[in-house]
């Protein structure tokens, strides 16, 4: 049903679609550039860039098909979508194929389904529906708890694959929840956890505990007359110290050796340019060698001669960096930031809480991917294998981002209506 005189694409935000198309085009060009020159001679659908072209076209078809659907469909069927994706996440643990240590794929014919990609918009939809059912009262512990459950189930299931990178993406749902009234302390606590986590490696335990006790002590002393704040200060201090030990313990017992090495390399505790640090080092070399304006299209040597592994997928940004230089990198990041701000602005103009929460979710998921992926290629974040949205080679990822974005564009085009 469409209120706007039967014109399907009425009110659709063409600016966002334009950025989307631009990013896909950038992806295609750079996937083309990152394959060996010999293969580039004749166009073929068997090559990565040939396939990517197919993915982009089919992605656009899927995207515009979504625009044809009824906006109410997403809200109504969100529990079903969520349920199906959770089942798929369970199924992948049983029937999935192991690729590079991760059991993340379900083979369906020649096509490989990656349920963790589907889980992103499944979770986003259900979360939006759940939060929208409260109206403006999304503050009590119970509702936060259930919202948390919705997020943690897929996170946990993906952790079992184990695909830590994809699992971490679910932390991005903090932003929509924050927007809907989740206390800012959660964000602060989260930030504090990250800071403590990093500090745990760089500063000796004893000194760290000393610092926490000092800061805690000052707080407790200053608030000694306000009992409530004093007690929460004590609690925070104790939890912080316990957390430190927990991190140390889980670091040694839970994390895989390769994950430990990645973290140590990122923190500069270890240099291993030939072993585990090889990817990041080569990626940094490729990006850094692009300098201001880059070596030019197809002129990259690092990416062309296979020095950077996972060239067209997770490390596609190094091709951009090498061939287009700082100018190209800046453009890509600017496009992303522009798209994110645009989506947030669109989300804010929604009447329905459902659309707004979903919009924030879309922006946050894309943001997490962009930040982690680019941060990883330039060595400020440990190597976490997640794709760069719209640009990285791969059908599953391109389609799931397309679906994620176009559902929101559909909701947005329908903002005058009621869901």
């Amino acid at each position: 049903m469409n209120q706007q005189g039967g014109r399907f694409f009425f009110n659709v935000d063409w600016v966002t679609i334009l950025i989307y198309v631009a990013l896909c085009a950038i992806g295609f060009v750079n996937i083309y550039a990152s394959i060996p020159r010999a293969e580039a001679e004749a166009f073929s659908f068997a090559t990565n860039y040939g396939k990517q072209l197919v993915f982009i076209i089919t992605g656009l078809i899927v995207g515009f098909s979504i625009l044809l659907l009824d906006a109410k469909f997403f809200s109504v069927f969100s529990p079903v979508v969520y349920g199906v994706t959770m089942l798929l996440l369970l199924a992948v643990l049983v029937v999935g194929r192991k690729v590079a240590g991760n059991q993340a794929w379900i083979p369906i014919g020649s096509f490989r389904l990656q349920p963790s990609e589907l889980a992103k918009f499944g979770t986003a939809l259900l979360l939006a529906r759940y939060v929208s059912s409260f109206g403006p009262k999304f503050r009590d512990v119970k509702s936060i708890f259930f919202a948390g459950i919705i997020i943690v189930i897929p996170l946990f299931l993906i952790m079992l694959q184990p695909d830590t990178g994809s699992a971490l993406v679910f932390l991005s749902f903090m932003f929509p929840l924050y927007r809907e009234g989740l206390s800012g302390y959660f964000l602060l606590i989260f930030l504090g956890m990250i800071v403590l986590f990093i500090a745990d490696f760089l500063v000796p335990m004893g000194i760290l505990i000393g610092i926490i006790l000092t800061i805690g002590g000052i707080f407790i002393y200053q608030n000694r007359r306000k009992q409530k704040i004093m007690f929460s200060s004590i609690t925070v201090t104790i939890i912080a110290i316990l957390y430190l030990f927990l991190v140390k313990l889980s670091y040694e017992k839970v994390l895989e050796p390769h994950q430990r090495t990645r973290i140590e390399i990122m923190l500069g505790l270890k240099t291993d340019p030939k072993g585990a640090g090889y990817n990041v080092n080569q990626s940094k070399i490729a990006i850094g060698s692009g300098q201001l304006t880059g070596r030019g299209f197809l002129q990259g040597t690092q990416t062309k001669y296979g020095y950077v592994p996972e060239q067209s997928t997770d490390f596609i940004f190094s091709t951009i960096g090498e061939e287009w230089g700082f100018a190209g990198c800046f453009t890509v990041i600017a496009l992303y930031i522009f798209m994110l701000l645009r989506v947030i602005n669109l989300a804010e103009r929604q009447r329905s809480t459902f659309s707004r929460v979903y919009g924030y979710s879309v922006a946050s998921i894309i943001f997490f991917h962009v930040f982690i992926n680019i941060g990883m290629t330039i060595g400020i974040i440990p190597v976490i294998g997640i794709p760069l949205p719209f640009i990285s080679y791969g059908g599953s990822s391109l389609w799931s981002f397309t679906v994620l974005l176009f559902i929101f564009l559909k909701l947005d085009s329908n903002r005058m209506g009621f869901i």
Binding site: Y178, R179, I285, G288, G290, Q291, Y305, G306, I337, L341
Partner: protein, 648 residues
């Protein structure tokens, strides 16, 4: 809209902040530093070297003395090696499994992805067998280069040798050398290394991560071709060089022959010598260790490193300085009662000649005469004291090239020993005079010279008053350039007229019936010379002869030292005369051939170790007391005794 609306700005602000962090980091690694750009170049760029052939070395008649022979280094890229029959490969290249493992680990430690040498310098024969089967050994390939071959197997000390570069060489070469390259380490190969080595050719290739070449960099704009080394023409005459080596076989000592007018060294013999081919190839290390075991120090380059007292060979210098200073004239006579009385001790002479003048004094090698001349020089009235007079004397001696290196074009030349008066004062205290140092007059005492310096003294006398710095290379490259210092005449400040009386004496020494080396006269050639029987504190006397020929317009000046061989006239003088004759006439007269063959086969090696209790070495003042010829050692036992050079 509610107050939560403001949170939009916090989230958007976070997005922008993170975007800025990424941009800032990118700005740093892309624009702020070119570290990564440089790393990228070194990732893909490989310099492939082509090795030039080393320059050839010729003798003065442009006979080729050194050639280059191809050899083949077996290279390996460790990560491309797949399973194969290691035993077969070991058999082909002639190594055992232990060596194989060691080589492979060494190569892998150097680099897994880049080629390194697995086994070096395989011969053509091995290469032929190997190249047929090389395809069975993925990761292995062969790189050719050339090594030296010395067809005459002679003059090892002259050539020196070529060896793999050391880390120090690499550090000092400003990037020219890399591990596995070769460099001249001794002799001419070292001295003229920069001329001989040529220039490596460089091809800049792009490589992918699997080490597969992807074409040349910038269309080969920065590539260069290998440039062969320059050829050099040595001043040696290999006819007499080889004859000299044959004559010195199984003896310890040295021969230096110089063309007086040019300073070009004609013969440069150091004995014991070695075949330079031993220092080439895979067995180099082993051969080196074998040679170094020889107690007579094979690697001592005696012509420029051996220290000897000049002995009687110094006497012509006494006479020249005496004449120049005016303390004697050619007719001055001194009485020789068989000794010279220096203070409270006597310096013996071998004969009682009564009143003796310059010409006969030199021909008879009279110690008394020489001592008187020295006494007169040091006690001249015009100097305030004897120390001052001594300094004037030793400075004049230095003009003859003693006490300082002659700057020959050979590494590690030693300078000899010649004291200043201060050094004597330091050693002997304030109270010393001519009687104390009188043995200098007969070339003993605190005076050591190298054979090269001795030959150079002869060149000076032959030239009547000057020398050109002796050198072994007379022309470099196609333009035949030579260093300026090797054409400059160095005058010794003795007038030419004073030389004739001295040369008269030296002519008599060889040609007169009363001369000390009369047995070594050459038919139709007037050779002038001086024998020496150098007192040696460690063993039997050294046989020394210095001379030049012919008397007018001399062509060759020569110094011969045969250690432990006794009288100068016994071995040194005949050897010198054979070389001179060979050089001037290109053949040895029939009457002398038998004796020459006898000398060639004679063995004179240092004594076996002496019993611990033995007489103290004679003091320098009592030189030349041993007058018998039966001092030759009967055994050729290898001894631990150092060679008998009186180095101090």
């Amino acid at each position: 809209m509610d107050n939560l609306f403001n949170r939009k700005y916090i989230i958007q602000g976070l997005f922008i902040a993170v975007g800025l962090i990424l941009v800032a980091t990118l700005f740093y690694i892309q624009v702020g530093t070119d570290k990564y750009f440089i790393s990228a170049e070194s990732n893909v760029l490989r310099k492939i070297y082509t090795f030039p052939a080393r320059g050839i070395i010729m003798d003065r008649n442009e006979k080729v003395l050194v050639q280059n022979e191809p050899v083949y280094d077996l290279m390996v890229i460790p990560n491309q090696v797949k399973e194969f029959d290691t035993t077969a490969l070991c058999q082909i290249i002639g190594i055992d499994m232990k060596k194989f493992r060691k080589n492979f680990l060494k190569a892998r430690n150097q680099s897994r992805y880049q080629p390194s040498i697995f086994e070096k310098q395989l011969s053509v024969q091995i290469y032929a067998t190997l190249s047929e089967k090389l395809s069975r050994y993925p990761g292995f390939f062969v790189q050719s280069r050339t090594v030296r071959y010395y067809p005459d197997s002679a003059a090892g000390h002259f050539f020196g040798y070529v060896k793999e570069v050391s880390p120090t060489d690499i550090a000092e070469s400003n990037g020219y050398y890399s591990p596995g390259d070769y460099i001249g380490k001794a002799g001419i190969e070292r001295q003229y290394n920069n001329e001989l080595r040529g220039e490596k050719g460089i091809v800049n290739m792009l490589y992918d991560v699997h080490n597969v070449p992807q074409g040349s960099y910038a269309e080969g704009k920065y590539d260069t071709l290998a440039k062969s080394g320059e050829s050099v023409i040595s001043s040696l005459d290999f006819r007499i060089q080889k004859l000299g080596e044959q004559l010195m076989k199984n003896k310890v000592g040295s021969i230096v022959a110089i063309e007086p007018s040019t300073g070009e060294i004609l013969a440069f013999v150091s004995s014991p010598g070695y075949d330079p081919n031993l220092m080439v190839g895979r067995q180099q290390g082993n051969n080196y260790m074998d040679l170094i075991k020889n107690p007579n120090r094979v690697f001592n380059v005696r012509p420029i490193q051996g220290y000897y007292s000049p002995g009687s060979a110094f006497k012509p210098l006494d006479a020249l300085l005496g004449l120049q200073e005016g303390v004697i004239d050619p007719n001055t006579t001194f009485n020789c009662p068989g000794y010279y009385q220096a203070g409270n001790h006597r310096l013996k002479c071998e004969h009682v000649d009564g009143n003796i003048s310059l010409r006969r004094g030199l021909a008879r090698s009279c110690n008394t005469y020489a001592s008187y001349v020295f006494q007169k020089l040091i006690t001249q009235r015009k100097y305030k004291n004897q120390h001052l007079a001594y300094d004037v004397w030793q400075n004049k001696v230095r003009k003859f090239g003693l006490g300082a290196p002659l700057d020959v074009d050979m590494p590690f030349e030693r300078k000899g020993i010649l004291y200043t008066s201060d050094e004597y004062t330091k050693k002997l205290g304030k109270y010393w005079g001519y009687t104390t140092v009188i043995s200098l007059g007969i070339g003993q005492g605190e005076m050591n010279v190298t054979p090269l310096q001795m030959a150079n003294i002869m060149a000076i006398i032959a030239n009547r008053g000057y020398y050109v710095k002796p050198h072994l290379i007379k022309a470099i490259g196609e333009k035949k350039v030579i260093k300026k210092e090797y054409v400059k005449k160095n005058y010794v400040d003795v007038d030419a007229r004073h030389f004739e009386p001295v040369i008269d004496g030296m002519q008599d020494a060889v040609n007169a019936p009363w001369g000390t080396a009369r047995g070594s006269a050459i038919d139709n050639i007037l050779m002038c010379g001086k024998t020496g029987t150098v007192q040696n504190p460690r063993g039997k006397n050294h046989s020394v002869f210095i001379g030049f020929a012919p008397r007018d317009n001399p062509k060759i000046a020569i110094a011969v030292i045969v250690e432990n061989a006794g009288f100068g006239s016994a071995y040194a003088a005949p050897i010198a005369s054979y070389l001179t004759e060979k050089y001037l006439k290109d053949s040895i007269s029939v009457s002398k051939r038998a004796n020459m063959e006898w000398i060639k086969n004679k063995e004179i090696l240092p004594d076996p170790p002496k019993p611990k209790v033995r007489a103290k070495p004679k003091t320098a003042d009592s030189a030349k007391t041993d007058t018998t010829l039966k001092t030759l050692p009967k055994k050729k036992t290898v001894t631990n005794l150092k060679p008998t050079t009186a180095a101090k």
